[in-house]
């Protein structure tokens, strides 16, 4: 059930906040955990969605937004391309189920990225299909911005690097 998942995630973040004093440590920990989930989740995603191979970065970003987010969180963020080179994308979420019960961040945790786990998941999943990417939060509703925006920057393909070495 969705509520149990959201409450579990909240308890996870609250516990991490008790364990680590600095917000950056909590963010790093969430990202690492997300990465571990992402490298495993990608196989489940590919098995259940039966999507064809993506031919471009923008197709990949669309796939993440329209299929993966819909499948696992039940929301569909909108995708926009940020750079002329076509390797920077933004996923804009106007509804984020993970923060349903969190009204605002506590005062002493102002730079906490509450949903940083999502960034790690996306990064881990992309890496398993040989796409290196940097994923961060560009805007966060919990910090007072209007929407929640996740930025994905695709780096040079890991495969290319391997070929060049040979």
């Amino acid at each position: 059930s969705r509520e149990l998942f959201v409450l579990t995630y909240g308890a996870l973040v609250a516990q991490l906040c008790k364990d680590y004093e600095k917000d950056e440590d909590v963010n790093t920990c969430l990202d690492r955990m997300g990465y571990g989930i992402g490298v495993r989740l990608i196989d489940d995603f590919l098995a259940h969605s039966a999507v064809k191979k993506c031919r471009s970065y923008s197709e990949t970003a669309d796939m993440i937004a329209q299929v993966a987010f819909k499948m696992y969180l039940g929301v569909t963020p909108s995708v926009s391309c940020n750079s002329a080179a076509g390797n920077e994308f933004s996923l804009i979420l106007d509804k984020n189920p993970l923060v349903d019960f969190v009204e605002e961040l506590p005062a002493e945790r102002a730079s906490l990225c509450y949903c940083n786990l999502l960034c790690g998941v996306i990064r881990g999943a992309l890496e398993m299909v040989h796409l290196a990417a940097e994923v961060t939060f560009l805007q966060d509703r919990l910090k007072g911005d209007a929407v929640t925006e996740i930025g994905i920057t695709f780096l040079r393909k890991a495969e290319d690097r391997k070929h060049k070495r040979n």
């Binding site: 909240g10 609250a14 906040c17 019960f101 969190v102 009204e103």
Partner: protein, 139 residues
């Protein structure tokens, strides 16, 4: 006019107090404190009888010449108390019940916030807004 809303923890200390207007607050705090005894009495009296039929809404706890005190208790022994001015005869039982229900729903939302520890004082802006609008509606 709705004068005071209080939420008390199972250990009978206040988690949230909001009063409109804000003079004579101490007198109301004292009233609420004594009404907690009445609440406890009602819970223990009904508990021994038919536990299934015990309602959350306790009704009018006791009337005094100036004001009436209403109570509501959840299954986790969190108590909600409201003090209403006696001159307001337009306020019906249903309305009091629905106000307590709104308070209860907002309270459960607060409980779901992972950063809230049960037993802390309630500092949520959304909750304040809800209580303010509810109390203003009655005035």
């Amino acid at each position: 006019l709705l004068l005071l809303s209080v939420i008390c923890s199972p250990q009978n200390y206040p988690l949230y107090i909001r009063s409109v207007p804000t003079e004579n607050e101490l007198k109301f705090h004292y009233t609420v404190h004594t009404s907690l005894d009445v609440v406890d009495e009602k819970i223990s009296a009904m508990g021994k009888a038919l536990v299934d039929q015990r309602e959350l809404y306790l009704g009018l706890l006791y009337p005094t010449e100036d004001y009436k005190v209403y109570g509501y208790v959840t299954n986790s022994k969190v108590k909600f108390v409201m003090v209403v001015d006696s001159s307001n005869t337009a306020l019906r039982d249903n309305e009091i019940r629905s106000m307590f229900r709104k308070l209860h729903n907002s309270y459960t939302d607060i409980m779901c916030n992972p950063f809230y520890n049960p037993g802390d004082r309630i500092h949520s802006r959304a909750f304040d807004n809800m209580v303010n609008s509810m109390m203003m509606q009655v005035c």
